[in-house]
């Protein structure tokens, strides 16, 4: 048996296109997830009970159920309900469904990352800010969040890598990201081994590049870290 490299090399443009979709999906989802995560984490640390309950239910549901189920719920469940409510057929494009599902999912994890960051800032920081007459919101915005965000960068990098890998699950709704591209090539060539080795290499290159980037940022911020 020999390893047929040409299965990979003949399909390079197709593979690159899949990888590009995967990257877009990841970047957009993590960006939206970061915004969601910020608001949910602020609700999670607030003393206002309804905010607390709402944010905890959100986090528990999205972290406690499989992403695969969430993808089906968004892509098939929501359109069904919207269709019934509005009386006209509604369907999301697969890319939109994928973004919604991944953003909601990463939002929950990022909310917990930010919460950890916020709670790691010593109480004295909030007290000093409040003692100067700042409101809770001002103290959060100018004092707590900038420091918390800095401490959140390493786990955010890990979350980015996790979402990049988990985005392969959206191939089940036939979005042509990297994993779906692999399934198509394997189906056409009847060479799943070469194909998925190629796919794995593509994922590996992307995740390793990102983890290098994150550790570079960590080192740079570490130098100007005025948090200690």
């Amino acid at each position: 048996m020999d390893f047929r490299w040409n299965i990979i090399t003949n399909n390079l443009p197709f593979l690159f296109k899949g990888a590009s979709i995967t990257l877009q999906l990841t970047i957009i989802s993590v960006a939206i997830g970061t915004v969601i995560g910020l608001f949910v984490s602020l609700m999670r640390v607030s003393r206002f009970k309804p905010f607390l309950w709402l944010s905890m239910s959100y986090i528990d549901f999205l972290r406690g159920t499989p992403l695969l189920v969430q993808i089906f719920l968004v892509h098939m469940g929501f359109p069904q309900i919207l269709t019934e409510l509005l009386g006209t057929t509604i369907k999301f494009p697969v890319f939109v469904s994928a973004i919604i599902a991944l953003s909601l999912n990463s939002g929950a994890y990022i909310a917990e990352i930010f919460r950890g960051g916020i709670q790691s800032i010593e109480r004295g920081q909030m007290e000093a800010a409040r003692s100067l007459g700042m409101t809770y919101g001002q103290a959060m915005r100018y004092i707590i969040l900038p420091q918390a965000f800095k401490r959140s960068i390493p786990p955010l990098g890990n979350e980015f890598i996790a979402i990049l890998k988990d985005s392969s699950l959206v191939s089940v709704i036939a979005l042509q990201e990297l994993m779906m591209v692999g399934r198509i090539i394997a189906g056409r060539s009847f060479r799943p081994f070469e194909t998925f080795v190629g796919i794995a290499i593509f994922y590996l290159i992307m995740t390793m590049t990102i983890s290098q980037l994150v550790s570079y940022m960590e080192r740079r911020l570490g130098k100007s870290d005025h948090c200690q």
């Binding site: 004295g124 000093a128 003692s131 007459g133 700042m134 409101t135 004092i143 420091q147 005025h226 948090c227």
Partner: protein, 240 residues
């Protein structure tokens, strides 16, 4: 200027303050001493409501700050606080630390706020450290920046919560010097401290607290030389 009526504070089942009443006059320097766990810091932190009172009233210039309807942010603009552990903002330079509240709370222009901040840094002798971050400053320098930061709001009252307890011995002097200057200029101050020399020198009155109560209060000479209460005597014999 400050009137405290029967102030009580509980943490759960623990009674930390068990009924404190006192009056502090305009321009008076009041030093609070007592063993650890006596409630000194809690009492001080109630004066700007960093700790919410469980019962009792605190008036600052006729404003009842324990009333939930009072806008506590407005009150805190007038009451500066200096902490044992400095609590400077580590992501901001010394100058930015001082300028932040005038900028964001008083809505001054950036130039105005920075000018004011610079003036205050000169006053505490740290103009050459203006653009340093707190982690590049010694403890004494950090605490002087913290004092400048509190003064930037032009407070009518300054609260000091063991301002020299976290400092290396050789830095205590420079911080006390700044606080003494303030006292000479007529700032109304409440100082929780273990520095008895400082208490004698600048205090108009000393409050001795134990187990959540003011046990004895008198001018420093009187309290240190001829304490009347047994517990005051016991405490002073241990530390002097």
């Amino acid at each position: 200027m400050i009137t405290v009526n029967n102030l009580k504070k509980n943490f759960g089942a623990l009674e930390v303050l068990r009924g404190i009443s006192c009056q502090i006059a305009h321009k008076e320097v009041v030093v609070v001493i007592g063993p650890s766990g006596s409630g000194k810091s809690t009492f001080l932190r109630c004066l700007n409501q960093l700790e919410e009172a469980t019962a009792g009233e605190i008036f600052i210039e006729d404003v009842n700050i324990t009333d939930p309807k009072t806008n506590i942010n407005k009150v805190r603009e007038e009451v500066g606080m200096v902490f044992q552990r400095f609590n400077l903002f580590p992501h901001k330079t010394a100058l930015q630390n001082v300028a932040l509240a005038p900028l964001k709370v008083r809505n001054q222009s950036p130039q105005q706020a920075e000018e004011l901040a610079m003036k205050l840094l000169v006053r505490v002798g740290l103009e050459d450290k203006a653009h340093q971050y707190p982690d590049k400053l010694s403890g004494g320098q950090q605490q002087r920046v913290a004092i400048a930061r509190a003064l930037a709001m032009h407070p009518k009252i300054m609260l000091f919560d063991e301002p020299t307890s976290a400092l290396d011995p050789e830095m205590v002097g420079e911080v006390l010097e700044v606080i003494k200057d303030l006292a000479r200029e007529g700032m109304t101050m409440v100082v929780v401290t273990h520095e008895m020399g400082f208490a004698k020198e600048v205090g108009d009155r000393v409050l001795f607290m134990d187990e959540g109560l003011i046990v004895e209060e008198a001018p420093p000479k009187e309290l240190f030389n001829s304490p009347k209460n047994k517990r005051t005597q016991a405490f002073l014999s241990k530390i002097l």
